[in-house]
Symmetry: C2
Subunit: 422 residues, 2 copies
Amino acid sequence: MLTVSEAQQRILSHFEPAVSHRRAAVARGTNGVELQTLSLDQTAGRVLAEDICATIDLPPFDNSSMDGFALHAADTRGSNSSNPVTLSVVADIPAGNLSNIVISPGQAARIMTGAPIPAGADAVVTVEVTDQSREPGAPAPEAVSVYQPVQPGENIRHRGDDIYAGSIVLARGRRLCAQDLGLLAMLGVSKLQVYRSPRLAIFSNGDELIPVEAPLIPGKIRDANSYTLSILAAQAGAEVIPLGIAADECAAIHKLLDLAVEAQADLIVSSAGVSVGAYDFVKQVVEEQGHLEFWKVNMRPGKPLAFGLYRGIPFFGLPGNPVSAFIGFEVFVRPALERLSGAAPLSFTRRRARLAEAIDSDGRESYLRAVVTEENGALLARLTGHQGSGNLLSLVQANALLIVPSGVKSLPASAEVEIWML
Amino acid sequence: MLTVSEAQQRILSHFEPAVSHRRAAVARGTNGVELQTLSLDQTAGRVLAEDICATIDLPPFDNSSMDGFALHAADTRGSNSSNPVTLSVVADIPAGNLSNIVISPGQAARIMTGAPIPAGADAVVTVEVTDQSREPGAPAPEAVSVYQPVQPGENIRHRGDDIYAGSIVLARGRRLCAQDLGLLAMLGVSKLQVYRSPRLAIFSNGDELIPVEAPLIPGKIRDANSYTLSILAAQAGAEVIPLGIAADECAAIHKLLDLAVEAQADLIVSSAGVSVGAYDFVKQVVEEQGHLEFWKVNMRPGKPLAFGLYRGIPFFGLPGNPVSAFIGFEVFVRPALERLSGAAPLSFTRRRARLAEAIDSDGRESYLRAVVTEENGALLARLTGHQGSGNLLSLVQANALLIVPSGVKSLPASAEVEIWML
């Protein structure tokens, strides 16, 4: 039986490997990369498809970092509170206004934070070290007394201090966050190219499944996976194509798989129907118009896990139990989606923690539900109740998955383990 | 000057304190809590406004956890591969079907994963320990030989094993995630009550600001804060009311504040215009129809930070520099939004890390931009370039804020510090 990491590699080999993390990956046989040009306010959470090169310096001009007076630093030499230097104020420069004035020795210009430094001046004294008022609306004075010397360059932010025109500030493959959009706005990037979101078609299998709004009748259960998997996929940046529930018969499964292909899905995710039961037709149906690479992985929960191609589209057959389906998504579907999205690999999603209690395992690579807390600076992991693969409550109560490696049958309290924060 | 924590307390006192974390908080003088009833698929990321009590047991009936044969465990006693026990197969029970059959000693029913256990049977043997095939579509046999004994209860998931009817599974105040929706679906909760999202009005101040798509002219800069703050607010669950840019004059500021009130904002966030400059009119305008509680906080960056009420609506005047505005949002606006949202406080957003390098500070509580990595199981923090409050690039390059406490002027390499992951 394949190990988890063998299965992951087999899956990712069907998604064209990224030449570098800046290069978009494309699933073979799908619609390929498509780019979208969006206006800046539509791009939060999307993946950048171009390197962004600054076309201007930031700040774009020398400007004051304080409210005060622009002057010649040399004029303030030796000044103090009992012996101030008095300068004539020849201009008033609010932010947003360009002044053509040239400040000569003995002169000053009142200046606001962010306003351009006038020619001649080489420093700014803050209003707090002068005799001037802080009242909004106060007119500029005719003269200002300065109580403290200032060094050349003080309180000036120089053009290009933060960014030079020509430098690359955001690389292709970046998933755009709030501060990125702020930076792009400052640089005047009002439209940008992002990768099309991957399209993920999703359905559940099983005669026992009924939709959430249907009355519960004996022998039936409600379909949880359509909800859980759709939201995980949407949060991972996919556009979800929800296809509902297929009955346990070949024609019904065929129909939904074909709908996924017609909707130009980049990948298809179903749950249940891939085990060894007499009514598990999904494997057979996929193989009629494609092939399966594997249908078992040596892990717990989630052993019955199929992967293959249906009419050229990557197909994931997750287990039916809700917790197994969730973990199958995290372990196998999310990495494929990430590669397909064009995004650079996320760092920092896996951590180490210490066990708060001894745990047993069965030798398979196991993904257990746990609560991780920080105690005295260390991470401590505790299981959240019974780990049956149908017990969604213990997943709801968890904030992490705790990974027990293959071959390990027990771990003592305080052993170090890998965790994935949810 | 107020400390950060004094300022936070002053702010939160204007948002009705939550009696418990399950109780919604409401800003005084605003529209109060309003509830929305949404269908399940609309609720991801929303805050639950009711306790959810299971109305059914989960699983709802005893069912098989494996594909195999339901039987009397006692019948299998002593069986092994050379001496199997043979039982007559009297029924075939696929998942989703209820059988009225009663299994007598000496009998078995073929049963699929998830199918109800028939009366009489007290265990399931998996198909792997019988003489039967795993072919999908294979008809049920007339008899089955079992090669291994099974214990009573084996491979049976009992009704109520995961959840009892009557137990509270999700508490008011929970921000709903993927697995929560799966659980709600299983329980048949197709509609639920969530809190209305807080409405946050946002604008920027300054004659120097131009929108992103405008050509850059000398003395002007583009407005970054409208983008950064809107996205932070939306990601924190707020409905954003974007109001654009106000010029540095009282009438323009009044107009946008009044628009925010008319749009029924629960809180108003502006940036810039709250410092000591001669053109900083925001404080004055707010005080004409409200009052300011404070306009300075002893922190870096972000000292000029105003909070008050305008026509009864909480008003945050963040600093104008993009990094200061970002940090002001994280430190002051986000906690208010969280309280207003009705959500239980988030755990686990603050961590401890060790400094990779010595750093200097100026004695104010400081929020520095850093990259945190995990090395040999420990978190290590490094600053991302110069920490000027206008330098958004070093924020874009950061994955964390690093907090230097008040009163500290230097920290040696490997000192432990608090970090907030971004």
